[in-house]
Symmetry: C3
């Protein structure tokens, strides 16, 4: 029988950079009793976003941040029209537009089918620490699906 | 009982820029009698795309457009190989590749769980007005879901 | 009755560039006996990604590749901190971050609702040939859905 679950995860970010969120997401999915289904993660913000990246070498995250910092220059002195919320706010909106607000991942045997090197990250784009909220949705069933090739 | 709904929305765009589409999407979802589920919006084009952005200050949309205009230069004089459809066509394909063709948003209490500042936008990348089509899909059920923490 | 199907597709890539994958994906969906539903494609890698692009003029793919090559410079000589896996590895992670790891497409009459000019592509970002794996998930039902406007 097809079922649904919903959940919220709160993440405290230390400011700009990638925060690993695979662990709490996978733990929640594992506890739902749904073997096969579809997990959706939704980031409820426009200055933070989601990213799938390598979970092994932390240098990858540093290089990624360096790339985005060069690509999307910091505000100030009228570079952007939207500067009242700080020089990092408009760059944050642009960086969010270039990455993901949402990810939907197939679930098999109670686990999202991430590849060996894939981790899910919340990308904080503001320089100050923030509290961010992810909305989770899971649809599926306890039984293994019928396979037709 | 799990149910599905499908729908199409036609949008007349005035040329390059962001067109707010949250209102017709939310109105359709609200009318479906589905309290909990998953909404998917699919943009059926390769020179227009979808974006979640701040719905408050219109300057954000202007700055975003300025950023993309600088990042993806206009064609002409052989800058791109694909120029027969106009100098704005290849940039439109690139801008679509950098943004989203699809969004899937969890639905709770009959409403997509957008954050307070999040709006859904159709991003028209061509300079001339176009008619664009969004395909909507909703799966879910009338009842509230079981919550397991 | 709502049903699910899962599948894996293996793609041998010839190195950097776009590989058309619409045909095997559409063939699999057509064989599942599901008229209405939601198809999700998940790319299980962090140096390859998914893209929806024009399926007509191959110049579009060439121009897209040229754009990304300029936007994300090749490594070497310490440009990136993460260079042990080759000068093309860190650019591959950045390019993947700027495109898609996942696509979810509504299915109507047994077919994903791609627009006339839309094709699904696997974007290989490494210079060497690789074997890549896509995870597919389909949820839906044999019958046409109820339409409420």
């Amino acid at each position: 029988m097809m079922q649904q679950r919903t959940h919220r995860i709160e993440i405290a970010t230390p400011g700009r950079g990638l925060v690993a969120v695979s662990a709490p997401i996978l733990a929640w999915v594992a506890a739902q009793g749904i073997a096969t289904g579809l997990l959706t993660v939704w980031c409820r913000h426009t200055s933070a976003s989601l990213l799938v990246q390598e979970n092994a070498d932390p240098d990858v995250r540093d290089d990624l941040e360096t790339f985005f910092r060069r690509l999307v220059p910091e505000g100030g002195g009228g570079r952007y029209r939207h500067e009242t919320e700080g020089p990092d706010d408009m760059p944050a909106h642009i960086r969010a537009a270039l990455t993901q607000t949402q990810l939907s991942i197939p679930v098999e045997r109670g686990r999202p089918v991430l590849g060996t090197w894939q981790g899910i990250y919340l990308y904080e784009h503001r320089t100050a620490p923030h509290r961010r909220e992810l909305a989770l949705h899971l649809i599926g069933e306890a039984a293994e699906p019928q396979r037709r090739r």
